[in-house]
């Protein structure tokens, strides 16, 4: 009787994992396998049947000039964006973690853009950065007696504009994550250091930064992953233009999809997988080095 009871219990635990597991396998793992498979097929909207085409899609990829641009852009968006975010969020969170009057208001303000839709944020900044008469940022620039900049109208400034818009939207999120971590660093450490005569800079460098290691890790990893997924904002501001200069892997994939080149778009998906794996490996390597140094 007792034994039966025990197997019953184990079975129940097992069953409780099943709903999540089934949904995850069907809608996450299976599509990945499908995509890998279709990247070797000639699957289009207009061909009557889907035929095996070997490496054709990948050969086409190699000769596709927009691809390397898209990968480079995606990596730039992800890496520069994440670094700039932390560069602002880190000092801000340290300042707001002190007993500053009004710190809650500042926190609330800085976090606000993070609840706005990225698509709408993109449209808003498209108007703000416009080179037409009504472009607010250019009105300021002209007011300072400088020459107007067509921010979204060329590849280089377009790329940087998109990165800065993303930083504007997300540094508050990074700040909140740093704040959460800062609360867990014990005051005793600071007091002891102050007794030893350490100045503010020393304390920041030798207590705050190592103490923030977990949050830095989270911010870099999650920021990097969401940076790879940059899509809405590009669609709203430049739509990948001019001349594919600001394209990302996902916007390229979407345009192949819209053209009905499904097999080819699948190959883009595989490239995306490879790029994110590569980045994950590099990041983990960096963290391992850093942890070793901290020890």
């Amino acid at each position: 009787m007792r034994k039966k009871n025990k197997t019953d219990r184990s079975a129940t635990y097992f069953i409780m994992t099943v709903p999540a597991l089934v949904i995850f396998i069907i809608f996450f793992i299976l599509p990945l396998i499908f995509t890998a498979r279709y990247s070797f097929y000639n699957w289009t909207n207009y061909a009557k049947e889907i035929t095996f085409s070997g490496l054709d899609n990948y050969k086409k990829l190699l000769s596709d000039r927009t691809l390397s641009k898209g990968i480079m852009n995606t990596l730039q968006y992800a890496i520069i964006n994440v670094l700039l975010q932390s560069l602002i969020a880190l000092p801000v969170s340290v300042a707001l973690n002190s007993k500053l009057k009004g710190r809650n208001i500042f926190r609330a303000i800085y976090f606000t853009p993070a609840v706005l839709s990225t698509l709408v944020v993109g449209y808003l900044w498209k108007y703000l950065l416009s080179a037409s008469d009504y472009g607010f940022v250019n009105q300021i620039i002209a007011g300072l007696g400088l020459e107007k900049v067509n921010f979204l109208g060329n590849g280089k400034t377009g790329l940087w504009s998109i990165i800065l818009i993303e930083v504007w939207q997300w540094f508050g999120w990074a700040m909140v994550i740093y704040l959460g971590n800062l609360q867990s660093i014990s005051d005793d450490l600071y007091e002891a250091a102050a007794m030893d005569g350490a100045n503010a800079w020393d304390r920041f460098w030798h207590i705050t930064i190592p103490g923030l290691a977990p949050a830095i890790k989270i911010n870099l990893v999650t920021g990097m992953i969401s940076g790879l997924k940059v899509f809405d904002i590009v669609l709203a501001t430049t739509n990948g233009g001019p001349a594919h200069q600001t394209e990302t892997i996902l916007t390229l994939m979407f345009s192949k999809f819209s053209d009905g080149n499904y097999g080819y778009a699948s190959a883009f998906g595989m490239v995306f997988l490879a790029v994110s794996m590569l980045l994950a490996v590099v990041l983990l390597g960096i963290f391992r080095q850093w942890e070793r140094r901290l020890d």
Partner: protein
């Protein structure tokens, strides 16, 4: 020494203030422009509007078929978030309470892979799957995808939070003859409240603002979400550019209100979601 301190804090407020202005000016611009004509907005971008007519909002409301789009977005977000909480809490619980079994370890590892890899890479396979399952243009498609994609992190959060709940609490119920399943829902689940709140907030923000999922899977207009309505209407050429601003505002308004009303909870949710992660 004291004087130095005062100078320091003035400087600090100055810098924080500039940053706050940089954050707020675009948001202010977004809102005031909805009440202005094109010329007025171009000439006096930062001025308060001369008249407060809601006419442009009414037009945007009709053009976007707002009630319908709002309801679709609400259903997708609500059902997805509920689904994530139910499935992920059960799974995280079982994985924690049977931590040492091979099954648990394997399942956890598999699900964790979902945190590291963006699902967007396999969107074509997903597209195919949704089509083959005859779920295309159904809210169910987006809901299932949203659940699958956001499950992993939720499972992770629940699993680590369950480990802080002592097993002894459950044993009393067990002695009274309650099974594992009943014990979980009666005893453990109510104790998971902080994590439930965190998971609900994080996923509400993510799913409500998700544009790509609906873009691929909800192509018929009567099924589309608020952001698709923004995309559809702004994409069209319009000389009257300020008339597009009410649509943008209507696009962000629901979450903005949610945030203003529960600002502490939202920030707290993001904070605790990361501390455990």
């Amino acid at each position: 020494m004291k004087r130095k301190k005062i100078v320091c804090s003035i400087l600090l407020y100055f810098l924080l203030g500039i940053l706050a202005i940089l954050v707020l000016v675009p948001v202010y611009y977004l809102i005031v422009t909805t009440f202005k004509s094109g010329t007025e907005a171009a000439l006096y971008p930062m001025a308060l509007p001369t008249s407060f007519s809601l006419q442009s909002y009414k037009e945007a409301f009709v053009k976007m078929q707002y009630p319908r789009a709002f309801l679709n977005t609400l259903v997708i977000t609500g059902v997805s978030v509920g689904g994530i909480i139910i499935t992920a809490s059960m799974c995280g619980y079982a994985l924690n309470r049977r931590e040492k079994t091979k099954w648990s370890k394997g399942v956890f590892l598999l699900i964790l892979s979902g945190i590291m890899f963006p699902y967007q890479m396999s969107i074509l396979g997903l597209y195919r799957l949704i089509r083959d399952l005859h779920l295309m243009n159904r809210l169910t498609a987006v809901i299932l995808v949203d659940i699958a994609v956001n499950l992993p992190f939720a499972v992770f959060l629940f699993k680590s939070f369950v480990s802080t709940i002592p097993v002894e609490l459950e044993e009393a119920a067990r002695i009274d003859g309650a099974g594992v399943y009943k014990t979980f829902w009666m005893i453990t689940f109510p104790l998971l409240k902080p994590t439930i709140a965190t998971v609900a907030i994080l996923n509400t923000l993510t799913i409500w603002n998700d544009f790509m999922g609906p873009l691929y899977f909800l192509q018929s207009r009567e099924k589309d979400v608020i952001l698709q309505e923004v995309y559809r209407n702004i994409g069209q050429f319009s000389t009257d550019w300020t008339s597009l601003f009410p649509m943008m505002v209507l696009g962000v308004l629901p979450l903005l209100i949610f945030y203003l009303a529960m600002q502490k909870m939202v920030i707290g949710g993001v904070m605790s979601g990361s501390v455990k992660g």
